[in-house]
Symmetry: C2
Subunit: 333 residues, 2 copies
């Protein structure tokens, strides 16, 4: 009988995450119940947000505990089915976790249409793309000609959010952590300007890059970048709070940015947190638009592929240090 | 010729405000231009927000400088008029500042209808009442049965905001700094519960007072009370950021509350700053509703009167220490 390789959370990180917080185990194959499917994982994505769940306390990413399989979204083919609607061979997306095989209720499984690239369900047609789409269009709501600032702009959500804001007619400024990433955002994805938050004169450069202030800030980082962005917000501006990646990989988050809530009052700013799962009823609407933009070439997806289940812990640690460009995907063999 | 007593800003405060930051001077009477009126101040209100303007840097309260007349809203009667629409004897509200006489453009002067109590224009029908009204109805938007939390609940805006939320069908919990204030809010104004933020077990008491969480938080304080409220917010809750009184009377504001923006994301909270001056086009609408509620007795106004222009600096210092209940008004003789 086949074995199921799994990556388990061995221990919750104290301080920064290390690959040694995970371990690879061999488990017996899961058993199918009625209306369930067995999925062989082909690939899964690693998102920085999953680090929030490893802080031990409840977060939007849940509270994974030592001994559990590491959580994550994956794609794969159905290899066994007791669900009439989903045949063997069907490509699906599911919360597979970091393992070769997993069992899912048919009703909870996202069936990938034949004309869609399955891998896109980990990126632009998956949670990342939908987060970028609804975060920009529903929370940020930029108007034509607005300046939209995006942090972690080369990240899995950020690089899509920036492009979506461009499609909506905004001038888009990205904040990222390396000049190479910044060059790519400008040359390949059409960002109007980028600023490297690691530069000593970051605040000054951010100011220069946003001469008309910031109308919409799509915040993936929190922390110092949010603190700097607050001073650039225009009257009536909107901050879409998507993630706090600057604070995930630590057990001692830094203090909140200065000037809250005072700056929100002075500038009459709306700061609004959102989670993509609140938009589930509108996923099809979002995917249809995103698929159209992908097909027309208006929206480009950056993926960053890593090979082998065993590489996942190291790839996660590296991602938290800013090592990825676009969506980091672990491909299983 | 009459003299005009004025209270000037003598120096911007270093640390806490002191009465010695102000001085009383005698000036010559101001001279009227075309379409202007000369107003003899009868009373003016002191608001904590004015302290923000004394921090030297720009704030929503402007940036008064040493040597200027202290700013504030006053009421009085027109004693000389070169404006056809406003006769001598007319009661008006205007940005009189802390002085006996001031000149205003007729167009910028708020004419008080004969059937309205002029003093109410410093309280429930003035900026305080309008701030409470639009802050609750437009920014907070509580639904029937919601729990609404109000900080600085015995303050000039807070005591009105809480009552307006009650009128809208909410359960209202006030936060204030003394048990005497709290008793008054419950017994006289119908607050459902109050919590004293100076109590050592404030967080626990706040939790007990909000068993269904907080749907809308009307924040007049920022700081620790905001920090505690963030943990009580319900999913989809709204924070109306009205003021930051906890941080005004210092040159070294405390760090922003913990968990921003993380808690906004986890709870999908909207945090929104507002200034009443953005609602000027709707002032009449707000006043009409507030006047109706005042007339019917649904809304009660607490005023806290101090006698004499020379008492204003001390009354301001005392207000920042939480000495007032309701709107603090300085009456001139």
């Amino acid at each position: 009988m086949k074995e199921n390789r799994q990556i388990l959370i061995k221990s919750l990180p104290q301080g920064k995450l290390e690959a040694s917080n995970f371990c690879l185990e061999l488990a017996t194959m899961p058993v199918l119940g009625d209306d369930q499917v067995l999925v062989k994982t082909t690939a899964f994505s690693i998102s920085a947000g999953a680090r929030a769940g490893l802080q031990g306390s409840a977060s939007y990413a849940g509270a994974p505990a030592a001994g559990r399989i590491m959580n994550g979204s994956g794609i794969g083919q159905v290899v066994e089915s007791r669900c009439k609607a989903i045949p063997v061979g069907q490509w699906v997306k599911a919360p597979t976790g970091w393992q070769d095989y997993s069992v899912h209720n048919g009703a909870d499984t996202d069936v990938i249409p034949d004309d869609h690239d399955p891998v896109s369900y980990l990126g632009p047609l998956g949670v990342n793309g939908l987060t970028a789409y609804f975060g920009v269009t529903d929370i940020g709501q930029p108007q034509e000609g607005d300046t939209v600032l995006v942090s972690a702009a080369a990240g899995s959500v950020g690089h899509l959010a920036g492009q979506i804001a461009k499609i909506k007619g905004a001038r888009v400024v990205g904040v990222c952590g390396s000049d190479a990433k910044g060059d790519l955002l400008v040359s390949e994805l059409g960002f109007d300007a980028v600023v490297n938050y690691k530069d000593e004169d970051f605040r000054q450069k951010l100011k220069s890059a946003t001469p008309n202030g910031v109308h919409v800030y799509f915040d993936n980082t929190g922390g110092m970048v949010l603190g700097s962005a607050l001073f650039r917000m225009n009257v009536g501006g909107r901050i879409a709070c998507c993630g706090v990646v600057s604070q995930y990989d630590t057990t001692r988050p830094e203090p909140s940015p200065k000037g809250l809530p005072g700056l929100l009052i002075n500038k009459r700013v709306i700061m609004r947190g959102f989670l993509i799962y609140d938009y589930m009823a509108r996923f099809k609407e979002g995917r249809d638009v995103l698929h159209k933009w992908l097909s027309s070439g208006e929206l480009k997806s950056l993926t960053d592929r890593v090979q082998g289940l065993e590489s996942a812990p190291g790839a996660f640690v590296n991602l938290l240090a800013g090592g990825n460009i676009g969506t980091r995907i672990v491909e299983l063999t």
